[in-house]
Amino acid sequence: MMRNLPSYLIILIVGFAIAACGGRKPVPVDTEILVESVGGLAGSDAPDVSAIGLDSDDSASSSELDGSFDAEVDLSSPRVIYFGYDSSDLTPENKQIVQVHAQYLVSAPGTGIILEGHADERGTREYNLALGEDRAKTVSDFMQALGVDSSRIQTISYGEERPVSLGNDDSAWSLNRRVEILYQ
């Protein structure tokens, strides 16, 4: 959405977005921190890719800025939803968590979210990629059923590629089977 924009433009847009929705519900954000965090994201998280041909030293490279940042909705509400093994089903507790976010989103029309689906490391990487997608879609579908417009929800799956716990046991795996709710 905000890709390929210079960072000062992103800062301007961010500032404008905050000013625009500042009149309704108090969103506890700090402009300075946001500016810094946008800069930080651009510096540390911008993908750095280069392709190298076997026959030459020519390399193509690309880099881009990531426009996402995390606005504070409600510090007390969990932003991670955990799942059972090979499952995309939401437990009643998880439905409550999703409900809190859905209600906030309905009340704050300017806000968009990314639902990032993840899986534990067991099994094949591609099936886990699909499983992460399925989990993110399940959360997305439930949010839409609660009145959130689909245009405000983006789903991404990282499969087993971004574990939060590097352990090799049930407790680590259960932490990695998750959907993270990221505010834009």
């Binding site: 076997l54 193509a60 090979d86 099994g123 591609e126 099936y127």
Partner: protein, 442 residues
């Protein structure tokens, strides 16, 4: 009786589980490669490979006999006789004393020379000799530069393998794989191409984001793969000689699991643009995209049958992942696997008679072979976190990723499960191996 005689002659074969560790220094890469071999029952045709004469060659150059011995030894089809028991060291047919080789029960003998012929060119000659019939089975002369000596040695292994087993050798082939270095948030993903024994690795893509599922075009000139460089999964096709890349699929949602058709004209892939992960066929020439599966459950990991008529894929439609088959024309998929709670990541053997897959029969995620005719699954490995199995192009060996001591490594196993080999690359973990098709060029 014969086995006992063998044991008397070769005391080192007394241990049924023979384990070797070789530390190899790659001349081209920074990586030090360790190969561990684990043999079950040592069997196969006894063969003696005499160190080649090295005439005017620097002692740093590769000894072809070492490479040929490693190739044939790892295959599980040969028993390479230790050099310490050799009674003579011939380099051509005329100087072979056949009784020296009959005495140590060698059925086949390989001799040869590397000669520096000037202008940085080397002549490599070899002969494969039948010890009992006292005749030459194969012989060839190659003229190459020094950096091709390894490749020639692999080609010699291929010729010997074909001559003695009737099956094409797959030693002179390549693999693609992904290495990961560092920890979040500073991970470095490298997509690399190396010889099938892990040597001569070259990086073809560097990224700070995950790279997955490399798939070779049938001509071995291009790789399709999944990259997260756009902060989500998209599919690229990269020309290996030029490095030029085309962004093939960047639809909303998942873009993953590319698999080339045997004629190289189409790619099967998984997209979730129409709701949930489904399999599509992409026609490279027309850019036409056709949806193949329709189900509310996950459908992914397509792989073509060698005749191009079918696709096998993983589906969660029964409640857990199982393997299904669907005709390219469409229609209703047929479930293939019924044994085990988890079967995924299947691909066809080159003869189309079996599938290699990841199976969990209750004791971990292992490489298994599914027989199309018998409808049975046979586990091949003793590890329990296996991933990404890939047949060698002759169908005799499977390469896969697994974990050993908390590290991701690549491993191979012969299809009879008897010979297992681990390739450990220093610095970082290794994953997503994909074995390239045959490529006979020097």
């Amino acid at each position: 009786m014969l086995a006992r005689l063998k044991r008397l002659l070769f005391p080192q074969l007394l241990f049924p589980g023979l384990c070797l560790v070789m530390l190899l220094h790659s001349s081209t890469g920074y990586a030090v490669l360790t190969i561990e071999i684990n043999k079950g029952e040592v069997s196969g045709m006894p063969i003696a490979i005499v160190p080649f004469a090295m005439e005017g060659v620097s002692p740093d150059e590769q000894q072809p006999a070492d490479i040929i011995e490693a190739d044939l030894g790892f295959s599980g089809r040969f028993e390479t006789i230790p050099r310490s028991s050799f009674l003579s060291a011939p380099h051509d047919l005329a100087s072979v004393r056949f009784k020296d080789w009959r005495l140590i029960k060698s059925e086949a003998l390989v001799v040869g020379k590397v000669i520096n012929i000037g202008n940085a060119q080397y002549e490599i000659r070899f002969r494969l000799i039948d010890v009992f019939r006292e005749k030459q089975l194969a012989g060839q002369k190659f003229v190459v530069s020094a950096n091709k000596i390894r490749k020639v040695a692999h080609q010699i292994s291929d010729i010997i393998y074909q001559e003695l087993t009737g099956t094409m050798g797959a030693f002179d082939t390549r693999i693609a794989y992904v290495t990961v270095q560092g920890a979040e948030p500073d991970r470095q993903f490298l997509l690399r191409i190396a010889d099938s024994d892990g040597w001569g690795a070259k990086t073809i893509l560097e990224s700070s984001q995950p790279i997955l599922s490399p798939s070779w075009s049938p001509d071995g000139r291009r790789l399709a793969y999944v990259s997260f460089e756009k902060k989500r999964s998209v599919i690229f096709v990269q020309n290996l000689s030029t490095g030029q890349r085309n962004l093939l699929a960047e639809f909303q949602g998942l873009n993953s699991a590319p698999s080339w058709s045997p004629d190289g004209r189409k790619l099967a892939l998984t997209l979730s643009k129409d709701g949930n992960p489904e399999i599509y066929i992409y026609d490279m020439a027309s850019a036409n995209l056709r949806r193949l599966t329709r189900h509310t459950a996950i459908d992914t990991e397509p792989s073509w049958s060698p005749d191009g008529g079918y696709i096998v894929f993983t589906s969660g439609r029964s409640g857990g992942p199982q393997i299904y088959r669907i005709a390219i024309a469409g229609g209703s998929p047929q479930r293939l696997t019924f044994s085990g709670e988890y079967n995924a990541g299947a691909s066809f053997s080159p003869d189309g008679r079996s599938l290699v897959l990841i199976t969990n029969q209750g004791n971990g995620y292992k490489v298994g072979i599914y027989s199309i005719q018998d409808r049975t699954i046979r586990e091949l490995t003793t590890t329990w976190q296996d991933e990404s199995p890939s047949f060698s192009p002759n169908g005799e060996v499977v390469m896969y990723a697994t974990q050993q001591s908390g590290r991701n490594v690549l491993a191979t196993v012969s299809v009879d499960g008897q010979v297992q080999q681990t390739l450990k690359f220093q610095g970082g973990s290794v994953r997503e191996p994909a074995w390239a098709p045959f490529n006979r060029a020097l």
